[in-house]
């Protein structure tokens, strides 16, 4: 019973304190005469709330929180105190850094900001030298400090302030308090990777809510921040095993929202980068849950128009999956065909290179399942009037594995692509493409001349019939129309 109270208590405390500090806006800071006052206030309120517990059993509860805040001045340097005091000094310094300064206000005296900055540097040093001891109060203080400083709402994307208004302003927004944020991130990383950190205790504070708010920050416009987050989330995933399913689920949710709702997110590349290494760690045979992630999250990620920003990472993830289970290749290719870009040539180029990578790992059995729709698409790409797309598609034939697959199935594939090659020879505008088409045609002839001749004949027949087919289609619909008008609707 008592234990339960103790476990719950610090977390609640953390929450309520968070609310306190977030509720106060920038106006309140100016009213505080100095940081010291603020700090002891927090300390007092903690100790007064804890005093209830203290009465029950002071022996069970680690005394260092109270000692830390009340007895040791946070301004002392770490080297100036005895080893015994170090721990409490550590905590009081962490608490000192919970004061969020307002960088947007230039009038504010820089003294307290400097103080916080110095303290953060000291803390980073202290942790990196390995002299910190992360007992429960320290962990609680650390998580609270990170939460107060890091978890914030990003400002709106600023409209350009120039009068022109017509120039797209793509400059990313940088948080003015980055110098401090970076130190807090360093500290968090140092904490998570601390060799003697007890994961059992840490997971209570680095909990679901903490992680999901950390994930929200991936939307930051600052690439430096996303980079920090990437490393930290990766370490959390590595160290706190219990949270792994949650992390995977929460990231899936971010991806769903991005793909199906907003198409806006700044951190997809970073999230996928983490997933690249998560996937490579999956055990084989793959669990159904993981395959679902491939089908429901990764493959739909090919749809948004921003795919270029994270395509490299996405391809890596997809390839990891096929590496684990080559049977997935055909469903991946089906997905690529489903989301194949219609007008965006840059995107099409990415798709073709991903396709090549995937095909390279595709076995004959899977290839057979998708080759017809696949080569229909490839035929279109061969004809693309964007010469890079056409060129890139022609180059697929240089890949030995693909060539091998094609050769074995030439009876099906030649008839699909031969008309496209002919069309290119007749009227593609680009000389390089024409040359490539010529050499592929030569290659096909060398492979199976008889088949090529048959294809040519079939194509000529079809060409002569095509206008007839159009005419026939028109006629059928006309007859349908007549039939429809004979039978009156109800």
């Amino acid at each position: 019973m008592l234990k339960q109270i103790l476990i719950k208590l610090p977390r609640k405390l953390q929450k309520s304190d968070l609310l306190d500090s977030s509720g106060s806006d920038s106006g309140n800071h100016t009213s505080n005469s100095g940081n010291g006052v603020q700090c002891t206030n927090i300390g007092n309120s903690i100790s007064s709330r804890l005093s209830v517990v203290k009465r029950v059993s002071s022996a069970v509860f680690p005394a260092s929180i109270m000692v830390g805040v009340e007895a040791v001045e946070p301004y002392l340097s770490c080297t100036d105190v005895s080893i015994l005091q170090k721990q409490s000094l550590f905590i009081s310094k962490l608490n000192l850094c919970c004061e969020v300064s307002d960088f947007s206000d230039p009038d504010k005296t820089s003294a307290e900001q400097d103080l916080k900055h110095q303290t953060l540097i000291e803390l980073v040093d202290f942790v990196s030298t390995g002299s910190a001891k992360f007992n429960e109060p320290a962990i609680a203080a650390m998580c609270k400090m990170c939460a107060v400083n890091l978890f914030r709402v990003f400002p709106p994307k600023y409209r350009s302030n120039s009068i022109s208004g017509e120039v797209e302003d793509e400059e990313p927004m940088f948080d003015p308090s980055w110098s401090n944020l970076q130190l807090v991130y360093d500290l968090l990383l140092g904490f998570i990777t601390y060799s003697s950190l007890d994961a059992k205790v840490a997971k209570k504070y680095v909990d679901h809510s903490f992680i999901s708010r950390l994930l929200d920050l991936f939307d930051s416009e600052d690439p430096r921040e996303r980079d920090c987050l990437k490393t930290i989330l990766h370490r959390i995933y590595g160290k706190l095993m219990v949270h792994r399913p949650f992390v995977r689920k929460a990231v899936s949710n971010i991806i769903y929202r991005f793909v199906f709702e907003t198409e806006r997110h700044n951190g997809i590349a970073e999230l996928l980068e983490i997933f690249g290494s998560i996937i490579s760690g999956f055990a084989v045979p793959l669990k159904e849950e993981h395959k679902m992630f491939l089908w429901k999250a990764l493959i739909p990620l090919h749809k948004p128009k921003l795919v270029g920003v994270y395509h490299q990472q996405l391809t890596f993830c997809v390839v990891q999956f096929i590496d684990k289970d080559p049977k997935l290749a055909d469903s991946v290719i089906k997905g690529l065909l489903k989301y194949w870009p219609v007008t965006n040539s840059q995107k099409e180029l990415m798709f073709i290179s991903e396709l090549e990578e995937v095909l390279e790992m595709t076995g004959m059995a899977e290839f057979l399942k998708i080759m017809v729709p696949l080569f229909r698409r490839i035929a279109f790409c061969l004809n693309s009037s964007h010469y890079q797309v056409a060129e890139r598609t022609h180059l697929l034939w240089n890949n030995e594995h693909i060539l091998n697959l094609v050769t074995h199935n030439r009876q099906v594939i030649f008839p699909l692509i031969f008309p496209a090659l002919e069309r290119n020879s007749e009227n593609h505008w680009n000389q390089a493409v024409l040359n490539l088409t010529q050499s592929i045609k030569k290659m096909l002839c060398e492979m199976d001349e008889e088949l090529v001749l048959a294809c040519r004949q079939k194509m000529e027949e079809e060409n002569s019939q095509s206008s007839e087919a159009t005419e026939k289609r028109k006629l059928i619909w006309e007859r349908l129309e007549t039939a429809a008008n004979v039978i009156p609707p109800a």
Binding site: S22, G23, D25, S26, V153, P155, P156, R159, N161, I163, S164, G165, E166, S209, S212, D216, N253, Y256, R257, F260, E261, K296, P300, K338, R376, R473, L475, I476, W477, E478, R479, L480, E481, A483, A484, N485, I487, P489, A490
Partner: protein
């Protein structure tokens, strides 16, 4: 048609077309589903076509979207309302696909169909569908389900209603944020069908849960619907249950939430009645007007007039006006622009004295704003102030503002001010116009940008309509016709454009005596583009002038142009001659 007709199988045609590789053909055939259905007749549509469509759901999203849309209006083809339920099966599948716009369209079509179905059929077919979707394994089904409850609910018997409410409650607490977002954004629709006792208990509980969701995005959508929800409640209940939530949200730390509140606050006022407005909503609104975040101030500033309209003038002057003063000096140009687009509307609310004393300085300062959009927004709403205090007080500041906008380096700004010129002319009167603005109107005709020249020509037409032919003869025509001697062919083209627009307004006499000679003269221009534009203008003037003038002046000119060495000139000249012939024949 061929003489030997093969028997026609409409379904086979469809199946064949849907197998085609060309997506355009597949789309075309889906777009003509109703033809196939009519050819089949109602019974076979029910027994063959619809089951086929239910199976055929593996196509491109574009085709599925078209199918979802077509099915929404398919009731007549399956035999009317009593058979409407057969359409539910294919749409149910479409509600579960991945692509958002297909799902949305399927839900929309289901709502269309459901709202026509009979009560018993809804219970037998529609409600089970909603329940199946709500229990769907993948989130897409559950997301779709949320948008269907308001159709199923009204005709359900009591026990089923209880069940539906509890299912919706579960959706509000779904594991997936996607589903909770859908539940939040559809809540007000569902709430509109629920009996008031349950509304106060169940629905409000759901609302409160959603507003406390740990995902920002869910809370945001809950706020978005709060005004609609509030209007369903009795004013005192709304004040007791929704007001505190909103007032609380107006101080949320996320600017997105505050932004949403700023957008909703006015409508909520309509739902709660006067007393809570004064005590709670007004202070909240004033806070939003002074928010730290420009986006929030923009949203709030845009509602300033509407808000003043529901307050008493005293309250508006006491609480809102000081904020308006601050906003007119805001550091963000977008805030000032948002304010400028509505602030003129406050004049009728505050009355003449307060307007002159308090608002006028604000108008004047906005009229001198460094950002053109702000000035434009003020000018566009000039009529509202004119009614209250007359234009004289403003006119001194107005002119410099207009001149500066007229010469702005961004053509979009120039375009915008040209479009307000007729409004200004109407408000300011002929006298003011002649002195100050006439020159500007001519200057625009020779702008570097085509759109401006075109708008300038159009502007002359509207002015001629406003002030009449006599005025135009005196103030426009002489200057315009001078352009005929301009050395730049693009300017001469603009003249032709202006003539083709002015002709119909000024009437036959002026056209013949003043405009036509200039046009005929231009037919001897050395630039072919001018010449074929002459042909076009002549063609447009045929209907304006008398038959005799057509024969005497227009026809010879066109005949001459029809023998021009330039192919385009000949083309348009021949076109002109043809339309003369048509007119002569018909008369």
């Amino acid at each position: 048609m061929s003489t030997v007709e093969a028997p026609l199988y409409p379904i086979a045609v469809l199946i064949d077309e849907l197998k085609n590789d060309d997506i355009q053909l597949r789309l075309n055939s889906i777009r003509r589903l109703s033809t196939i259905a009519r050819a089949l007749g109602e019974e076979r549509t029910r027994s063959e076509l619809i089951p086929f469509l239910s199976e055929n759901n593996d196509d491109d999203d574009e085709v599925l979207l078209a199918m979802a849309e077509e099915l929404g209006v398919f009731i007549p083809y399956v035999g009317g309302v009593e058979h409407a339920h057969v359409l539910l099966t294919p749409l149910e599948t479409l509600c579960t696909v991945e692509e958002t716009c297909v799902r949305d369209k399927a839900v929309e079509s289901l709502c269309k169909i459901g709202s026509q179905m009979r009560g018993n059929d809804l219970i037998e077919w529609f409600t089970p569908l909603v329940k199946r979707l709500a229990a769907g394994e993948w989130f897409t089904a559950r997301v779709s389900a949320c948008g269907l409850f308001h159709i199923a609910y009204p005709s359900a018997p009591e026990t089923l209603k209880t069940e539906l409410r509890s299912i919706y409650g579960q959706l509000c607490q779904d594991d997936m944020p996607m589903v909770r977002r859908s539940a939040a954004s559809n809540l007000w629709k569902f709430a509109g069908t629920v009996e008031s006792a349950h509304l106060k208990a169940d629905i409000m509980q759901m609302f409160e849960d959603l507003t406390q969701d740990d995902q920002d995005t869910v809370r945001l959508l809950a706020v978005e619907g709060c005004a609609a929800l509030g209007k369903l409640l009795e004013p005192q209940d709304c004040a007791a249950r929704i007001l505190p939530v909103i007032v609380n949200f107006s101080q949320d730390k996320s600017w997105r939430v505050r932004y949403m509140v700023a957008n909703q606050l006015y409508e909520l006022c309509e739902a709660v009645g006067p007393e809570p407005i004064r005590t709670d909503l007004l202070p909240a609104y004033v806070r939003l007007l002074r928010d730290n975040e420009a986006e929030v101030r923009i949203a709030a500033a845009g509602k300033v007039t509407k808000f003043c309209q529901i307050l008493s003038p005293e309250l508006a002057i006491q609480h809102i006006l000081p904020c308006v003063k601050e906003l007119s000096l805001d550091s963000s140009q977008h805030v000032r622009a948002a304010l400028a687009s509505v602030v003129m509307g406050m004049a009728p609310v505050l009355g003449k004295d307060a307007t002159i004393e308090q608002l006028l300085p604000i108008f004047l300062s906005l009229l001198k704003d460094e950002f053109p959009d702000v000035r434009l927004n003020i000018i566009s709403k000039l009529d509202q102030v004119n009614q209250v205090i007359g234009i004289d007080l403003l006119s001194q500041s107005l002119l410099p503002a207009i001149v500066e906008l007229a010469e702005d380096r961004h053509w979009r700004v120039r375009l915008a001010i040209i479009e307000y010129i007729p409004l200004l002319a109407n408000q300011l009167g002929v006298g003011f116009f002649d002195d100050k603005l006439g020159g500007l109107c001519m200057q625009w005709l020779q702008d570097k940008v085509y759109s401006i020249r075109d708008a300038a020509a159009n502007n002359l037409k509207r002015l001629a309509e406003e002030f009449g032919p006599d005025w135009a003869m005196q103030h426009i025509i002489p200057q315009v016709l001078e352009i005929a001697n301009d050395s730049h062919y693009l300017h001469r083209m603009t003249l032709l454009r202006a003539i083709s627009l002015l002709g119909p307004v000024l009437g036959s006499e002026i056209t013949c005596s003043k405009l036509l000679p200039v046009v005929v003269n231009a037919s001897k221009d050395r630039v072919p583009n001018i010449k074929f534009n002459v042909a076009k203008v002549l063609q447009s003037l045929i209907s304006v002038v008398d038959q005799s003038v057509v024969e005497k002046t227009i026809r010879p000119c066109l005949v001459e142009l029809s023998e021009d060495p330039d192919v385009d000139v000949r083309y348009f000249a021949v076109q002109g001659l043809q339309s003369i012939d048509q007119v002569t024949m018909s008369s």
